[in-house]
């Protein structure tokens, strides 16, 4: 029997969702100040209107949902999934008001892509948008990488018991420190230190490349945000290819690979456990699958004779593959070059890299290295059991922060989520094929959306069918929240309609 939610359930969910919406409104203060600083008054008005809408909805929801009850687990999942939809619907206002989007759906696509750190976009004439809107795009992806709820946790939530339930709902289920608020702050500390170091390195490189100081710093900041969050947004339509600089490529590669590491790994390495980086199942799995996919693409491209020398081959092959595997989406080749130059093998190697993705509890998407590592180890354990004497007890361990036993529950959970991701990837490929796109291209683009990568072979555009835009929005959302929160939200909806 399905139990209909009580009034108290709605109140708790409304209260916490309201807090997150207020958080989105507060975030808009940054692009608002940027617009004012550069005298972009039209953009400033767009942000003022959008902030007002956020505060009306956010505080309105809290006012209508006054309750002293704390969140239960199911509430936390529903708040996490629901907040992303509300934050997308309202966060799309500045995009839409800018006049650079052809519809509100396109604006929502771009904002969901930003929050989920995907990087696909519909925005038109990117090279001529305002500083304020550029700041908002990159802030969206930086904040989305942290997790919208982590932001709210850090600044707006007073309790910790309920807060942890929302934090888990957003797909970050590791505590770096015993206290969840301290965990959220540690995540911020790691991100802010890299923000400082990365922005300075990119700004200096930009200056050396001849950019004017203001633009060098802004591009440095924005490209850092796009890289660290593994979002892949850049201020130019040519993405990082615009800089034509190996230094810029190396620095951005360091930033996005570091951004794809598990925050628990960062924290372990930063607190003295430096061996963890070469023992952790996620970094080991990432190093192996990155090597294999780079090997496949590099050998194929060398055989095809696309690039004239080893340096050119390395710069194109490693960068695209590492960007895809970390689910960043920075690119130094044109979208259509995947089809016209890289061919089927190059595209499939990139698709596999994107599909696997990087680390759990990071800014990255995809199946995640920890699941690939766990499933591989369970196969190894099965083989060992088959060749071992019948009386032998074979138990396998994997290392993630500490040694963990590989029990059936862990393997089943990893398999279930992997099957969910693979099903989503296949569904996205099928949908693209139904709309007339070649299968390899629709698989590439669908995996890119579902794994929150953002590399494009040219399928994503304002001319894409509306059904595919909606489907990609859902795939980005599902992929980022790793399904469970979204299923909980669906279950909540069904229980309202059919519960007793």
């Amino acid at each position: 029997m399905i139990i209909r939610p009580r009034r108290e359930d709605h109140l708790v969910i409304g209260k916490y969702t309201g807090k997150v919406i207020v958080g989105v409104g507060l975030l808009m203060a940054v692009p608002l100040l940027t617009s004012v600083a550069f005298g972009e008054w039209d953009t400033a008005v767009d942000f003022l209107i959008s902030m007002a809408v956020c505060f009306i909805f956010g505080y309105g929801a809290q006012l209508l949902s006054r309750t002293e009850s704390d969140l239960a687990w199911s509430h936390g999942l529903v708040v996490a999934a629901g907040s992303w939809i509300w934050a997308t619907a309202i966060g799309a206002l500045p995009h839409f008001l800018s006049g650079h989007e052809s519809s509100y759906l396109d604006a929502m696509f771009d904002v969901m892509s930003g929050y989920t750190t995907t990087g696909l976009y519909m925005l038109q004439d990117l090279d001529h948008i305002s500083y304020g809107l550029n700041m908002w795009r990159h802030l969206l992806t930086y904040a989305g990488g942290q997790g919208i709820v982590v932001i709210a946790l850090t600044f707006l939530f007073k309790g910790t018991a309920g807060a942890y339930k929302v934090y888990v709902g957003e797909g970050k289920d590791e505590r770096l420190l015993p206290n969840v608020i301290q965990t959220a702050r540690a995540i911020w500390l790691v991100s802010l230190v890299y923000l400082g170091v990365g922005t300075i390195a990119l700004s200096i490189t930009g200056l050396a490349l001849g950019q004017n100081p203001v633009r060098a710093v802004l591009d440095g900041l924005w490209v850092f945000m796009g890289g660290w969050s593994t979002g892949g947004f850049a201020p130019q339509s040519f993405n990082t290819a615009w800089f034509h600089s190996i230094s810029y490529e190396l620095i951005t590669a360091v930033i996005f690979i570091a951004g794809s590491f598990n925050f628990a790994l960062h924290w372990a390495v930063w607190t003295g456990e430096r061996k963890e980086i070469r023992r952790n199942v996620e970094t080991v799995s990432f190093a192996i699958t990155l090597t294999l996919t780079v090997l496949l693409a590099t050998f194929w491209l060398a055989k095809s004779g696309v690039y004239p020398d080893a340096m050119a081959l390395f710069r194109k092959s490693f960068y695209q593959l590492a960007s895809g595997h970390t689910t960043t989406g920075f690119a130094t080749i044109y979208s259509r070059a995947f089809v016209t130059q890289w061919g089927t093998v190059g595209m499939l190697a990139t698709t596999v890299a994107m599909g696997i993705g990087a680390s759990a509890c990071s800014t990255a998407g995809g199946i995640k290295g920890i699941r690939v590592g766990i499933i591989t180890r369970s196969f190894v354990a099965d083989v060992r059991r088959m060749v071992a004497p019948e009386s032998a007890v074979v138990r396998e361990k994997y290392h993630h922060i500490r040694a963990n036993w590989l029990d059936d529950g862990v393997v089943k959970s990893a398999m279930a989520i992997t099957v969910a991701y693979v099903s989503m990837y296949l569904l996205s490929a099928l949908l693209g094929a139904l709309y007339g796109y070649p299968l390899v291209e629709s698989l590439f683009e669908g995996v890119s959306a579902g794994s929150n990568t953002g590399l494009s072979c040219g399928v994503t555009s304002p001319f894409m069918p509306a059904v595919m835009k909606v489907a990609y929005i859902v795939f980005m959302w599902l992929g980022r929240l790793e399904f469970m929160s979204v299923f909980a939200l669906l279950g909540y909806g069904i229980s309202i309609v059919r519960g007793r």
Binding site: W270, V294, A322
Partner: protein
């Protein structure tokens, strides 16, 4: 003396005594990533030797 967290009574995450460890952590991560990048360059070299 370590800067203390006012409400919870243990050294703040940003206390100066942690800075050295944090810097060493950043360096470790960057070196690891540059190692992966070097692997990419070596693969490109080998591929060019084989196919050209």
């Amino acid at each position: 003396m370590a800067q203390m967290n006012r409400t919870e009574g243990y050294p703040s995450l940003t206390a100066r005594e942690h800075w050295g460890k944090y810097a060493a952590g950043v360096v470790t991560e960057v070196v690891f990533i540059l190692g992966l990048t070097l692997m990419g360059y070596l693969l490109a070299l080998v591929a060019m030797v084989i196919w050209r």
